[in-house]
Assembly symmetry: C2
Homo-oligomer: 225 residues x 2
Amino acid sequence: MRQAYQIQLADLGDHGARMCDVASTAMRDASTALFNADLTLAEQVIGMDVQLDEMRASAETSALELLALQSPVASDLRAVVAAIWIVADLQRMGTLAIHVAKAARRRHPRTVVPAEIKPIFERMSSVALHLSGRAAEVLRTRDLDIAGGMNAEDDLMDDLHGQMFAALMSPSWSHGVPAAVDLALLGRFYERYADHAVAVARRVTFLVTGENVGGDTTVLLSPPE
Amino acid sequence: MRQAYQIQLADLGDHGARMCDVASTAMRDASTALFNADLTLAEQVIGMDVQLDEMRASAETSALELLALQSPVASDLRAVVAAIWIVADLQRMGTLAIHVAKAARRRHPRTVVPAEIKPIFERMSSVALHLSGRAAEVLRTRDLDIAGGMNAEDDLMDDLHGQMFAALMSPSWSHGVPAAVDLALLGRFYERYADHAVAVARRVTFLVTGENVGGDTTVLLSPPE
């Protein structure tokens, strides 16, 4: 039973990795749509909610089957619960990508991101995508070195997010209130996406080691934020 | 066993209701701190994260015990998973209240909400608190009439959120970019708080009826958004 359980848990990891790939594709295309005011691409990303929802439902069913058929206890049980939260993180990442695509669609044919602040947003997008690529790798390989290496990039995201706010709040900001409001919300979407990618890696670390990286026994089982 | 399971599930509901009360208190005090630029009260709300985290950990432990000791299957199993997501919603509501308190602290001693837009924010706060009060009642009583009645208020929140954006984006907006950016994010916190309160009531409805209100078999088991 223990072996069957491990195999099923590994399947769940592969499923999660594929879902993470879909979320990454959604965020990559949403960012391209945003930067190029590409309405067709934005619509395509918005339509990905169906696929993400199906993948979530399917992962959920797998987790429930694992619970029902194997009746895991103790650490195995906590692992399945952690897996359910990983799925929640992944779906939220997809939803945040869709929010980015919706912002591109809402302002079309205008560009949402003015040239002077575009480099910051391009970097935020790039860091977000790199983090979700890493999260997928961690889900596939359970390589904890990769998971540990994500913290520095998460700090970089926070730093970029701060730079973005400083630019919007600066007296030299010349694009008015509506643009600033759009960008503040967009910045939050990228930052939250990165947070969820990091949370996925932390939860996998917990699955592998049975220990919380932060030393707090509850942190890594905590719900998605 | 079935009876023991029902009792434990009811305990989990009571625990959730108490956690919902704490989230409501946090949001009520955060809103007061925001409207009155009350730094002491803001700090007090920010300090509530410890209590919310403890309540979450304890609810999580109860749900895990239920899974481990009762090994529920089929609908009972899905119910426990739904309960775990209810806890996630409740913790997120607390975190959003803390975000509101942090905005008040960040701008202290200045007031974040200008007089002309204050009535919209007061109504958003009032609707948010009413919804979380209802969610706590639903957790305690499993009264589906109350749960059903929450949709109209949720629509009202969306409407207020739209009015807020219209005010910020209007050419007559005279408070500049930084204020608008703060308010756009604050508006999002209230709206998300309401979304989670409604999600809690929907998940309880699912627990009671075994059916999704929306007719979609996956919606109510979906992770917090």
